[in-house]
């Protein structure tokens, strides 16, 4: 008999259907990977199982745990169940812990609550559990507060709470999405080991097929509140039947078609800027520091060096990748290169001229030639303006040079360039989907006909299928307009797909650089190696899967990150 058996689950939130006839089951000791894009209803299925649905939700159907119906169960009984028989790990470890209580106390609370044991005893058990998740009390005192731990460590604490009482079912909702790749791998390994040890079942919710391929025994795919396909993992990846599953798989492994890189100035019909020879933008030993808090009245304030003597150059038509984990200084470097912030050391050269010496006209020239696309498709547009006005904003740099008719022509052109319709100029940003908005952002960057576009994590916030489309678009535009890209990302797969050259950045320093394929296939620097090894890779995961026995738990080492604050 299945441990968890969901039958024909319908869920409405304020009358809006969210889940339709969802049926899933998980056997004891089994790991089910639940896959789907955002809004597909994965999380709601999990919350329905926990009976922690948001306000206004009403569920019909049946959810049985060990044969006992959970829907409509008395709240008191549910409370006794939660944390003991079913527990859950959430996506965002930074906010999942109460900031005002020590981690020890928060773990200990699980024991106190369900076992009612004296405090000292619970604290001792808590220490044991923390040790089990790789936070040995000797090194990570349980009287620390959450803010003193890194994201990965916090996620370990959340996991400790979840596995404290060895539940029958552990639900993990995108448990690693918010983490850096290296940490992500460690957390996944840890979770696999823990459920294996305890013989628990795991419902792993993720958007990442590679993660599922690595971890799950069976896979279910959800789309628009329905389960579209379900099967044993190997068989699933071997022979998907549903078109959506196939599309998902296709998108996950998608590599855009790129023309081979051409030497600058040799392609006929490229933009004039591309023919001018020499790199467009050069960073020469750039340093960017932020002043920390002063340690005392007479001691100077400590400095945080976000960017430390970085040297790089981008030639016309070239696509350069900049890879690193969050907080390594990528975005700061981008802002400095865009002349939005001044470097404290080193120089930035725009077409051979030091940016700090440029006059207003020179800066305007720079801005025309160097445009940017940001990560967040929601935050990069002023919600009060129409798409046409937003896209045309950089034409401010050309004021006096072009008239209204030309402006409208350009808007229409860039909109169709990015696959939107000229009529879309009359819409407001909220009327576009996330992927369309990112297209709009690209259109905005294109409108001054730049030579270089800095792309700061342009596809990270997008679902896989959309991501593939946007990458295709970027590749196509690069070819058509002979654009140079500086592509900033934490995702090695994306960087591999779209760049010629890659720089690996860690803690403000470029640790390795070279042609993309060479760096990623044969990394020289330790850090790059770790990064490559940790990155989820569907093909590799499937290959490993075939040969792998269940690995021994090796999650006992805490992640390397230093506590923040």
């Amino acid at each position: 008999m299945a441990l968890l058996d969901i039958r024909n689950l319908d869920l409405n939130i304020y009358g809006v259907p969210v889940l339709r006839g969802v049926s899933l089951s998980i056997a004891a000791g089994e790991t089910l990977g639940l896959v789907g894009e955002s809004g597909s209803g994965k999380s709601m299925t999990a919350l329905a199982t926990m009976q922690l649905l948001p306000r206004g939700a009403s569920a019909r159907g049946s959810i049985r745990l060990d044969g006992e119906e959970l829907i409509g169960r008395d709240e008191r009984a549910m409370c006794a169940l939660r944390g003991r028989d079913i527990s859950m790990v959430f996506q965002e470890p930074m906010t999942a812990l109460n900031p005002l209580k020590t981690v020890g106390a928060q773990v200990s609370e699980v024991f106190r609550l369900h076992l009612g044991a004296p405090r000292a005893e619970c604290d001792a058990w808590a220490s044991q559990v923390l040790e089990r998740v790789g936070l040995p009390p000797a090194r990570y005192a349980p009287d620390r507060y959450p803010h003193e731990l890194s994201g990965g460590q916090r996620q370990r604490v959340v996991i400790a709470m979840a596995v404290a009482l060895k539940p029958k079912l552990l639900i993990a909702d995108e448990p690693t999405t918010a983490l850096d790749v290296t940490t992500q791998a460690q957390i996944l390994t840890l979770m696999r080991a823990l459920v294996a040890e305890d013989g628990a079942s795991l419902l792993l919710i993720t958007h990442d097929l590679a993660v599922v391929a690595e971890t799950a025994d069976r896979v279910a795919v959800m789309r628009r509140g329905e389960v579209v396909e379900e099967g044993e993992t190997a068989a699933f990846f071997g022979g998907m039947t549903h078109p959506y599953s196939r599309a998902l798989l296709e998108a996950s492994t998608h590599v855009p078609q790129r023309r081979p890189r051409v030497a600058p100035g040799t392609v006929p019909g490229t933009a004039p800027a591309a023919r001018e020879g020499g790199p467009i933008l050069v960073a020469d030993g750039v340093v960017r520091e932020y002043r920390g808090r002063r340690a005392g009245w007479f001691r100077p304030a400590g400095c945080h060096r976000a960017v430390d003597a970085v040297t790089l150059s981008v030639a016309p038509g070239e696509s350069v990748g900049l890879v690193g984990e969050s907080g390594c200084g990528k975005s700061t470097l981008a802002r400095t290169l865009l002349a939005l912030e001044a470097p404290q050391g080193g120089r930035i050269l725009f077409r051979g001229r030091d940016v700090s010496s440029l006059d207003a006209a020179g800066i305007a020239r720079l801005r025309r030639d160097v445009q940017v696309v940001f990560q967040d498709p929601y935050g990069s547009f002023d919600p009060r303006h129409k798409a046409g006005r937003l896209v045309a904003e950089p034409l401010h740099l050309l004021r006096g040079e072009i008239d209204a008719a030309e402006r409208d022509r350009r808007i229409a052109r860039v909109l169709s360039d990015v696959g939107l319709r000229p009529e879309d100029a009359e819409k407001y940003p909220h009327e576009f989907s996330g992927g369309q908005r990112q297209r709009l952002a690209i259109a905005r960057a294109l409108i001054t006909r730049p030579a270089l576009i800095v792309l700061d994590e342009p596809v990270s916030a997008l679902d896989v299928s959309i991501r593939a489309q946007v990458l295709d678009l970027l590749a196509e535009l690069q070819a058509r307009h002979a654009l140079a890209y500086l592509f900033i990302s934490h995702d090695l797969a994306v960087v591999r797909a779209i760049t010629d050259r890659v720089l690996v950045m860690r803690a403000g320093i470029i640790v390795e650089q070279g042609p993309t394929a060479a760096v990623l296939d044969a990394p020289q620097h330790d850090y790059t190696r770790t990064l490559v090894a940790a990155s989820p890779d569907l093909a590799r995961a499937l290959a490993e899967r075939r040969t792998r026995a269940m690995p021994a738990a090796n999650g006992r080492s805490a992640d390397a990150a230093v506590p923040s604050a």
Binding site: E75, S87, V110, W297
Partner: protein, 315 residues
């Protein structure tokens, strides 16, 4: 932490120094002469001059400023023109009315607001919630002095349970003194409590939407347990901020309420001192009020650190 406190203290001192200069200047501009008020309509010019000399009002302004500010630094607020006693003594006497009044009001505010706000948040959208929200909405709209008048009408004039005004002094016994403070404190507390209850409610609602509350629920805590053990303390942080701000409103409110109830407190003292042009009292008491607001806000900030471990190391 120490360095932070030191830095804040320094800026506090600068603030007070500027405040003292402003207060002094305003007093200089203020029309009217304390000597004239003291001596009335039959005073002769030579008598007025003699009295001014007695007060040292004939000396140049910068000299007087330095003398006053220097005195303040040593805890000497000068000698009241009208009462001929040290201002410190006056302030000390009045403090025994104002401070208990403010504290009672603040306590009442907190005792009413926090549970009521928490209840409304916990029972969101219930009849209780709607009732609380309506009541607090009205509470905010009621001017405290008008409320004071109504309280007097009902409890002092009609029912005669409590005095309509005045203060018998603590020597008359704790009970009569407290009785005299009940109505003023209630009048002060009601609008403040209404505001605070709403802040508490929305803060708790925000907190209840936090991820860690969901984590706690996933651990098996009931809603009530979650509120008690996890949400409440977190929700109190913004409440603390508002309470800090309210202190200055409370002080301003005290001035009016003390005048409605004729309580011999600091507010009334400064009010009378202005009309009598007892400028030395006005200057010193205003400085005291400014200082207390600044200091309270400082304490609130330090108080965050006590509540919130995230700030303990950083500040």
């Amino acid at each position: 932490m120490l360095a932070y406190v030191g830095r804040r203290l320094l800026s506090l001192a600068v603030t007070l120094a500027i405040a003292s200069a402003i207060v002094f200047t305003v007093m200089e501009i203020l029309p009217g002469d304390p000597a004239e008020v003291m001596l009335g309509t039959n005073a002769r010019p030579d008598t007025l001059a003699a009295l001014r000399a007695q007060y040292g009002l004939d000396r140049p302004a910068p000299e007087r400023y330095l003398a006053w500010a220097g005195g303040l630094l040593q805890g000497d607020m000068g000698l009241s023109y009208t009462y001929s006693v040290p201002v410190t003594q006056l302030v000390a006497e009045r403090m025994w009315v104002s401070l208990p009044l403010a504290l009672i009001a603040l306590t009442l505010t907190t005792l009413i607001a926090i549970p009521v706000g928490a209840l409304a948040a916990a029972k969101r959208n219930s009849a209780t919630d709607v009732g609380v929200m309506t009541a607090t909405q009205v509470g905010i709209a009621v001017p405290n002095f008008w409320f004071a008048m109504l309280l007097v009408l009902v409890f002092a004039i009609t029912l005669r349970w409590l005095p309509a005004g005045g203060f018998p002094g603590w020597k008359a016994g704790a009970w009569p003194a407290l009785k005299a403070l009940v109505l003023p404190a209630v009048a002060l507390a009601l609008p403040q409590a209404s505001i605070l209850a709403r802040v508490m409610r929305s803060s708790l609602l925000d907190t209840l939407g936090e991820d860690y509350v969901r984590t706690a629920r996933a651990k098996g805590l009931t809603r009530a347990q979650t509120v008690r053990r996890h949400a409440l303390r977190n929700a109190l942080i913004p409440v603390l901020t508002i309470m800090g701000l309210q202190f200055s409103f409370l002080l301003a409110g005290t001035i009016i309420i003390e005048n409605v109830f004729f309580l011999p407190g600091l507010g009334r003292l400064v009010f009378q001192a202005i009309t009598q042009r007892d400028l030395i009292v006005v200057k010193s008491v205003v400085m005291l009020l400014v200082a207390s607001v600044v200091v309270v806000n400082f304490l609130v900030e330090v108080g965050y650190a006590a509540v919130d471990p995230r700030l303990r190391r950083r500040v």
